[in-house]
């Protein structure tokens, strides 16, 4: 540490440069991870809110809630602690001045899919809905009358709830009757026993007997939301790539510094200072630079995050950031091992050579 720190103090510029590069890489990593978390939330937060273990959809639907269609009374055959039925459709909702793509959930008020209302009141009668509060930022408010792209029905926002977006669209919660009216219009009465799926908590043994139905673990269901896995993999891949890049940057930079100091290291080894001590110093130096870079990068990310418009889907998950920060530092140290190898190989005789 003594050598490491004194060298940094004497040669500030070169170490500020490497720290700066590491900081930018860390900034990018943190930002991408924030974006990844944000996009994930955008897709899954309403599903996470269910706190469910699985969902039952038809085999034919291929794990798509929208494509699945079954009957209300099928819920009786389900073997689970708790069940909740769900109907779902996508629509464009407008309040006269704003239009927004939304997802309408038809649920039963007394079942566990019923969200907690953070503002206003729960839906009570026909055509009343609870809306995701992200709609407030889009210019919707309590009491707004919504016209829908696919239906003649008009819905009224009577309450808001938080964290309720499904596959990137804010959710409107309504009772099953309202849902049927919106979905089938004139034919609502004839189809009033139609739902899309059954959400369950703690299914036991054979949850269902029906071969036409399929029990899908919630995580599996989420992975199959349109675009979810692809989006995630793209961002994760970019982050891993950045880890590799930072390892290479650190390796090259430290290697150049080490090569410059070969004769100095040689003299020190001739004087009996061990390779171990010198290597420790290089590792300590890398740790310092990487840690400083990561900390500044993290601070910068959080600061940027605070000033971003709400429309940018970033959300910072501190545990994830800490893990990525630790990985960045570890990866930088791995890059330094290359220099350690060089130091171990230095022949003190060559340095002394007269």
């Amino acid at each position: 540490m003594f050598l490491a720190w004194n060298e940094i103090k004497k040669n500030k510029l070169r170490f500020v440069l490497i720290t700066g590069v590491l900081m930018l890489v860390a900034y990018l990593v943190f930002f991408l991870s924030g974006l990844a978390t944000g996009l994930k939330d955008l897709n899954r937060e309403s599903v996470d809110k269910w706190k469910a273990s699985a969902i039952i959809l038809t085999e034919e639907s291929d794990k798509s809630l929208y494509q699945s269609s079954m009957f209300l009374d099928q819920v009786e055959e389900v073997n689970a602690d708790e069940t909740a039925v769900i109907g779902q459709l996508n629509a464009i909702a407008g309040n006269g001045s704003q239009k927004k793509n939304v997802s309408l959930f038809g649920i039963r008020k007394e079942e566990f899919l019923m969200p907690e209302v953070t503002e206003g009141k729960p839906f009570a009668g026909e055509n009343e809905v609870i809306a995701d509060d992200s709609l407030k930022e889009e210019g919707f408010s309590l009491g707004d009358e919504l016209s829908l792209s696919s239906s003649e029905e008009k819905l009224t926002i009577v309450g808001f709830t938080d964290k309720a977006r499904f596959n990137a669209a804010p959710v409107l919660y309504a009772d099953l009757e309202t849902f049927h009216m919106v979905k089938y219009g004139e034919g609502a009465d004839a189809n009033n026993d139609r739902i899309n799926g059954i959400v369950i908590r703690n299914g036991e043994g054979d949850v269902i007997q029906d071969d036409a139905l399929q029990v899908i673990e919630i995580e599996d269901f989420i992975q199959n939301l349109p675009g979810y896995t692809e989006q995630n993999m793209t961002l994760t891949f970019m982050i891993y790539f950045l880890f590799a890049i930072s390892a290479v940057i650190v390796a090259i930079f430290l290697y150049v510094l080490t090569v410059q100091k070969i004769s100095m290291f040689g003299v020190m080894k001739a004087q009996g200072i061990s390779s171990f001590y010198l290597s420790k110093s290089v590792i300590a130096q890398t740790f310092l630079l990487a840690a400083i870079g990561v900390i500044i990068g993290m601070a910068l990310t959080l600061t940027t995050g605070a000033f971003l418009p709400a429309a940018v889907p970033v959300s910072f998950d501190l545990p994830t950031m800490l893990i990525y920060g630790a990985v960045l530092i570890a990866v930088a140290i791995a890059g330094a091992l290359f220099s350690v190898l060089t130091i171990v190989r230095i022949d003190p005789l060559k340095a002394i050579g007269g």
Binding site: F2, V267, K269, A270, Q271, G272, I273, L349, G353, G354
Partner: protein, 226 residues
């Protein structure tokens, strides 16, 4: 007089076949405590080879090097590194200072890595003896050649090594500075009762030494004893 260093039938050959160089031929050598010894001789005669063998940086092809009663030829590289650290002080032609440490911190580094540490009082004495007390806060790049060599000597003498090995320590200095450095080395050798072996081209410097050896073609001969 106690013997600090003894070489018994030491030879060193480099390469093999027709490229074979006998850098050191069957050499017997002894050095006592408090002696300042000079080795002179033409270029390529084997002076540095001799010094690196004594310093445990090279192992002899045959024979034994015994330092303070320990046979260093039988030691592992790790053990020899420890011996170099704690019992040998090196002074090199080019300065062996660390560019990013001030004079005081060069000493502090030794304090961290060496076993036998100096007290503050001994440290002050060393600074004073070598006249480098005012240079403490300076970096090597801000020192003159002579000042740098004085600091190098201070490093070599730090915590009283058994033996100080200097390979052309005055080569980069003008003759006034060279005399000064030799004078210093002599004084410290005497007062600290260490043994110093100095390789040099400059025959005028040998006046300071107790013994002068002459090296030709790998053969070491005692030339004069003062």
């Amino acid at each position: 007089m106690t013997t600090v260093l003894e070489l018994k039938q030491v030879t060193k050959t480099f390469g093999s076949g027709h490229k074979k160089v006998e850098a050191l031929k069957n050499t017997e050598f002894k050095a006592d405590r408090g002696e300042l010894i000079a080795i002179i001789g033409p270029s390529g005669s084997g002076k540095s080879t001799f010094l690196t063998l004594v310093g445990g940086l090279l192992t002899p092809t045959s024979g034994d090097v015994i330092l303070n009663g320990q046979n260093i030829t039988k030691m592992s590289e790790k053990e020899r590194s420890q011996i170099r650290l704690n019992e040998i002080g090196f002074i090199l032609q080019a300065s062996n200072l660390i560019p990013f440490l001030t004079v005081a911190k060069q000493m502090k580094l030794l304090n961290k890595v060496k076993k036998g540490n100096m007290s503050v009082g001994e440290m002050e004495q060393l600074y004073e003896d070598l006249g480098i007390g005012d240079l403490r806060g300076k970096y090597p790049s801000d020192l003159s050649g002579g000042e740098r060599q004085r600091v190098a000597i201070a490093k070599a003498l730090y915590s009283n090594p058994s033996i100080v090995l200097a390979d052309e320590p005055t080569a980069s200095l003008d003759s006034d500075r060279a005399y000064e450095v030799m004078e210093l080395l002599k004084r410290e050798t005497k007062s600290k009762k260490t043994t110093s072996i100095v390789v040099t081209h400059d025959t005028r410097l040998t006046d300071y030494c107790d013994k002068v050896y002459y090296m030709t073609d790998g053969v070491l001969k005692l030339q004069e004893e003062n």
